[in-house]
Symmetry: C2
Subunit: 341 residues, 2 copies
Amino acid sequence: MTSGDVGQAPDRIPFEDLAEAIVDRLREAGASEDVSRILALNCASCERDGTLSHGVFRVRGYLDSLTRGWADGRAVPEVESVGPSYIRVDGMGGFAQPALAAAGPLIAEALTETGVAVVALRDTHHFSALWPELEGFARDGYAAIAMIASGKLAVVPVGADRAVFSTNPFGFATPVDGADPLVFDFSTSSMSHGDLQLAAAEGDQVPPHTGVDAEGAETQDPRAILDGGGLRPFGGHKGALLSLMIETLAAGLTGGSFTYEVDAEAPEGAHTFRTGQLYIVIDPSRGGNEAYPSRIRAFADMLRDAGMSRLPADRRYANRAAAAALGIPVTDVIRELLGRE
Amino acid sequence: MTSGDVGQAPDRIPFEDLAEAIVDRLREAGASEDVSRILALNCASCERDGTLSHGVFRVRGYLDSLTRGWADGRAVPEVESVGPSYIRVDGMGGFAQPALAAAGPLIAEALTETGVAVVALRDTHHFSALWPELEGFARDGYAAIAMIASGKLAVVPVGADRAVFSTNPFGFATPVDGADPLVFDFSTSSMSHGDLQLAAAEGDQVPPHTGVDAEGAETQDPRAILDGGGLRPFGGHKGALLSLMIETLAAGLTGGSFTYEVDAEAPEGAHTFRTGQLYIVIDPSRGGNEAYPSRIRAFADMLRDAGMSRLPADRRYANRAAAAALGIPVTDVIRELLGRE
């Protein structure tokens, strides 16, 4: 990554132009127009908001999966209501975001009519951050939880002699009265796979207790962790328990593949994984709880007053405002995407 | 705590006798017969299964809350269906377990008819582990998540100048084909308040990074953490994010009190807190996913094969089997309860 010298603005690109460039690459790799637009919007949003590990950096992985025929860029998801608040989606080997979008009308109906939507996606590839979809639910007034069986065997809990979990992200969003939603997502590993790959690409060391090498010994070399070793869960055994839950719900409950199943079948060079995702979306105000958004605002104000100057998503919103005013900083990865090397 | 010498069996008490002794104490303190039986069953189950920090050790706290008139041992919960899969319960200042039991018929109906039950309890005191209720849902074939705004200001995230969260427990359970359910619960603090109190009572040190003293400096003295200091969240900022989510859902969504609200109003000497709890219960097999229990079994078998010899709840089930055969070990706390000091 390069940044401009002091006093010299770095090269910038408008959000729309970046998204359009990603659309073009995805379409060239065989994705449909709709799928390309949904993925590009997601990817450009991550880049704009400073989530670089899930931004343009990931386009190569999308392209690799598409060109290998591993992810189907033209899949037509099958959406089924299995209860008034319960929706199952078979992504048919496509990506998760288009599958979730295909379920959009049924999700909206479930939320309006019942206040609850459990959305179980299977046979879907998820290769991005969780926050973009979560933020959307929160902007519509809903509290939302998401979890992914992310599908690359990568995490070795203490006691295990090999990787048994993926980085299995977890996320949450809530509306806040008169403010942007509180939104977070995090991997249940000590570090996200994207950040680990970035550290390896840049030759950086990672913090102690991040992971183990192929022999199971602790290491701070990200390449050793990637090369047959594994990450530790975050937070010791509690993080491992969360990861176990996420596999159980995002793979088992959805009918998607567990990490230990899918990792073996992914073709050489695949970067995305055909697993499952679970979203639980709830109308927090339904049933006489109209004070919810203002009470969350008071709670957030209390946290800031106690010194927590940065609440979840604050940094993303700041990056987003800067990008709206100035454009998105053009990194080497973006330069490569644009063919400006 | 004492244990028997080698070769000499410790004093034991049958589960039913222990539960009956707790019932008597709760009734003497003013709780109704039904409430006393529900709480005693929960408390004796924790003791039986080796969850000592939430077992008989906690009876004193129940009694203190009852005799101070802070928790209402005769409360009649108000249960309302606010959607086919969404139930709100006003605990009317009583305990959470009787409030959940009062919602039992509506929860069963929601699960049978829709496959989903979101159960939001407010104005309820929860003073136990989460696993007893979660295990029950799993034995009935459901996957269940629970979270509590536990109501004692106790947790100081990095960056905060005071405690802003409680230990906010999180729990999960799932059925497993041909085996006991996988069930876990944990506090989102570095240590549960119960274990911290036990360490303080026994004069033990706690591990590094467990908490801070009243001046905000790290300490390993549990009394300093209890005396105006605070615990850290587990797992750094990710644990803090989970705690933020739990406050948001278990207090905000339920309409219960946030920890920062309720702590100030609890009377001197109160050990239980009038907050809220959220349960999300889902039928994982509904809609063509009948393979769920056997797939979870295969997943658990894979974890054991990888060397994870102890999966969630294994230790509790082992303790339970021993207690069924031999009775429950009589600790000093039990001796005091029984008036055998």
